[in-house]
Amino acid sequence: MSRDVLRVLTEARPVELDPEIRVDEATRTAELARAMAGTRDAHRERARRVRPVWVLGLAGATAAAALVATVVVPDDPAAPRSPAPVALDARTVLLAAADRTAATPEGTGAYWHSRTIHRNHFPVTEGGRRYTIEVTQATDSWTPARPKGKQWSRTQNLGFRPASAADRAAWQKAGSPTRVKVSVPISPKLKRLKSAVYEAAPGKAHVQASPLVDGDKVYWIGRNVTMKQVRSLPTTPATLRKELLRWYKGHGTESNSPMPRDRWLFEVGGLLVTDLPVTTKTRAAAFRLLADLPGVRSIGKVRDAEGRPGVAVAAIERTPNGVLQRRLVIDPARGAALASETIVLEPAGVNAELPPNSLLGSSTFTTTWTDKPLS
C-alpha cells in the first residue's frame, strides 16, 4: 500500500469509536450511579498501604470461612482443653485491663513489632473422607516510629494439621495427604468460592521492606494514617468513640456487609487493644469503650491458641454465614489483649455444613517496641 499503514488505520477509525463523542446523559447518570453505589473497597485501598490494620486477623479473603479456637474444638469433645468457664463479668474484666494498661509505662523503640499467628479452619473432602484442617500462618511486621523509614514484614505459612483427633483419624483414612485443596469464599457475600491448596509442611518465610505510603502513612484505619496520628488518638472513652465513629459507614471494616455500630466498635476497639501502637492511655480508653458496649458478655477463663491463659469476652454478630461469636481473649492482670477468635454458633451460608459452635479461626497477638526490624 502506498501510505503508512498505521496512519491509514488511524484515519480508518470508525466514527462510533471517536473518544470525543459525548455519552448521553441518561447513560452517564446510570453508569455513575451504578459505580458509586458500590463501596470503596478497603482491600483494594489497602494495597497502597503497607500493612492491613482494620482487620481482626482473619478478615480478608478467608474471613468468615472457618476458624476454630482451641476452646471450641477440643481433641475430644468430652474433655475440653481449657478449664471450665468461670463466671466473670465482661465489664469487670475490661475495666481491670484498662486500669492495668493505664499504669503501664510507655514502651520505646524505633519500630513497633507485631507478631500475629492466624489459624483458620477449613473443611476438606478428600478420598471420600471429610475432615477439618487447621491452617497456620505467622505474620511479623515492623512499623517505623518515624516518617521516611521502611515498613518490614515477614510472613510464613506454617502448614496445616488436622484440627482434632477425629479429624486426624479421617485424614489418615484419606491417605494422610500432605497437600489438600479447600474452597475459600471470595466475594463479599461469600457466594463465590475459589480453591486454595495448603501444604502440611511449613513454607518459606517471605521478607519484604516497603517505603511508607506518601512517606509517612503506616496504617489504614478507615483512611491512611501516620504513626503520629495513631499515637494522638483520644485518651478518654467518649472522645475515642467519637473519633472512631467518624469512619463508621454502616458496614464491616473488611467488607461491604452491613454491620451495626456497636459490633463495629467491638471490632475496631478490639484492634486498638490487640495490635496497634496506640499510647497506653488510648489503649486504656479502648478497653473502657469496650466495657461500655452493650451485648458484650464474658465467656470466662480460657487459653488462647498459643496456650496463654486469659478471660474471653464476646459479642454476637449476625451474618449471612451464620450467627458468629467474636471473642477477645484478655489478660486482665497484664492489661493485654492476647487473641481474637471467631466461632460460628448457628452455621449458615458458606458455614452451613459446619457443626454449631465450630471455631472458625483465631489470631494471637504479641506486640512490643524494638530498635531493630527482623529481630
Binding site: M1, V23, L32, A35, R40
Partner: protein
C-alpha cells in the same frame, strides 16, 4: 458530593468514551456497555489505586473484564460482525483513500487478537508505547516489538486481501454520513 465522588466523576467524564471505544473495538458494541459499567464499578471500588493519568489503568481494568468474560475467538467474531456496522469516518475525498481504509479495517479483522489489540491501543486510542505497555502489563520495549510485528502483519494482510479481491466501492459520502446517525442511535 464529596471529594472522592467529584474526582471520580471527573475521571469518568474524561475517560468513559475512550473505555467504551476500546471495549467496542475489542468485543463489539453489544457488550461494550457492560464492560464499561463493570470497569467503572471496579474503578470506584479501587479508587485509591487509580493513578494519574487514569486512562491506561482504566483500559487495563477493562481489558481484564473483557478477558475474563470473552474468549479471543469470540472477540474476533465480534470485530468482524461489528465491521459490517461501523461507519467509515467522513472526509477522504479521494476514492482510493476510502478504499484503503476499508481494506485496512478488513485486514484488522484477520489479524491475531494480540496484534489487533496493540493496534487499537496505539492507532485508535492514541496511546504512547509507554501508556499502551501499561495497559498490557508489559515493558515499553516489548510493546514496541509487538507493535512493529503487528504493523508488519497488518501491511501483509492489507496487501493479501487486496490481491484476493478488489475492495467493494464505498457509497457516496452523503450516504455514509446518514448511516452515522442510524448506527449511532442503535448503539447508545
Amino acid at each position: 458530593m464529596n471529594d472522592a465522588e467529584r474526582r471520580f466523576t471527573a475521571i469518568y467524564d474524561s475517560c468513559r468514551q475512550r473505555v467504551w471505544a476500546y471495549a467496542c473495538a475489542r468485543a463489539g458494541g453489544q457488550i461494550a456497555d457492560e464492560v464499561v459499567s463493570e470497569t467503572f464499578a471496579i474503578a470506584w471500588r479501587r479508587f485509591g489505586d487509580i493513578p494519574e493519568p487514569p486512562l491506561p489503568w482504566l483500559l487495563g481494568v477493562a481489558r481484564n473484564v473483557l478477558r475474563d468474560g470473552h474468549r479471543a475467538e469470540a472477540r474476533r467474531a465480534a470485530f468482524t460482525a461489528e465491521l459490517a456496522h461501523w461507519t467509515p469516518p467522513p472526509g477522504g475525498d479521494v476514492a482510493e483513500d476510502v478504499t484503503e481504509r476499508m481494506a485496512v479495517l478488513r485486514a484488522m479483522a484477520e489479524l491475531p487478537d494480540g496484534d489487533r489489540e496493540v493496534l487499537i491501543l496505539t492507532a485508535w486510542q492514541g496511546l504512547s508505547p509507554r501508556e499502551a505497555a501499561r495497559v498490557l502489563g508489559c515493558r515499553p520495549a516489548a510493546l514496541r516489538v509487538r507493535l512493529h510485528r503487528a504493523r508488519r502483519r497488518l501491511t501483509k494482510a492489507v496487501e493479501g486481501s487486496a490481491a484476493r479481491s478488489p475492495a467493494p466501492r464505498p457509497g457516496p459520502a452523503g450516504v455514509v454520513r446518514s448511516q452515522v446517525e442510524i448506527v449511532g442511535r442503535e448503539m447508545t
